[in-house]
């Protein structure tokens, strides 16, 4: 009996090297992306406030804010700034929708396996779709 217990593999925590081998259900993907998107926005907060500052302070700074997207900032080209903004747009949308999903689950206790699966797929699809739409606008496709 004691020997049998010893042979059981114990996964107290997933090691970094095991992440790729794990197949997460949609709800799990939404969950980890909720965390990733939150961390991204936390780290890029000074960049967002810098944009906010330049867009509001004066007409001159507003032009600087606008030119960052075309001619870049410092050694970073404009397309890279747009790409970072696209990342932020996705992060905001995913965090927002996944957050609303959380609140909805908290309020209605809709936490069956099927409901969780469906709402997770909707969250992923909606955030991806809106990101593509806003990304097309950002890169001037329409």
């Amino acid at each position: 009996m004691a020997d049998m217990l010893k042979e059981r593999p114990v996964y107290r925590n997933i090691h970094v090297s095991q992440i790729v081998g794990y197949r997460l259900p949609p709800a799990g993907i939404v969950s980890i992306l909720h965390r990733v998107s939150g961390a991204v926005m936390f780290l890029l907060l000074p960049f967002v406030i810098w944009l906010f500052d330049n867009s509001l302070t004066s007409e001159i700074s507003f032009d600087r804010f606008a030119s960052v997207f075309s001619s870049g900032a410092g050694f970073l080209p404009g397309w890279f700034v747009k790409l970072v903004c696209l990342g932020l747009i996705w992060a905001y949308l995913h965090h927002f929708i996944a957050g609303v999903r959380h609140l909805w689950m908290d309020m209605t206790h809709s936490v069956t396996k099927e409901q969780g699966h469906r709402s997770a797929v909707i969250t992923l699809a909606l955030s991806a779709l809106l990101t593509v739409a806003l990304g097309a606008k950002l890169f001037g496709l329409f």
Partner: protein, 120 residues
């Protein structure tokens, strides 16, 4: 709140993080509502440019609302980022350093953002 000191002090139990849990949700609702309020104003008729954009944030009620949302964002992010450190960073010294960094980072950003709205 019931007595939480001396022999009545609660050191374990299911309600340990409920205050953080609730504050994260309340601040989330505030930010979501702010998003809608801002979105409605951005989509109002009129070409987007400096005057429309600065006009939105020059109203005093919008400044007060933005200020509240900045504070809410800092609190919300603090709860979330602290969760990340508690989940992945086990060495106590490193975790404390990262938590201190998070507080400094968020307070600095909040101060800057508040300055932007009330300089306008």
């Amino acid at each position: 709140m019931s007595t939480n000191f001396g022999s009545k002090r609660i050191v374990v139990g299911a309600h340990y993080g409920s205050r953080d849990w609730l504050s994260q949700r309340v601040t989330a609702v505030l930010m979501a509502l702010f998003t809608l309020v801002l979105l409605v104003q951005v989509l109002m008729p009129g070409a987007m440019g400096y005057y429309k954009w600065a006009g939105i944030f020059s109203a005093q009620w919008m400044k007060v609302l933005t200020f509240v949302v900045i504070v809410a964002l800092a609190l919300h992010a603090w709860v979330g980022v602290r969760d990340i450190w508690m989940d992945y960073v086990k060495p106590v010294g490193l975790r404390l350093a990262l938590q201190v960094f998070s507080i400094v980072w968020l307070l600095g950003c909040a101060g800057w953002a508040v300055q932007v709205i009330w300089r306008l």
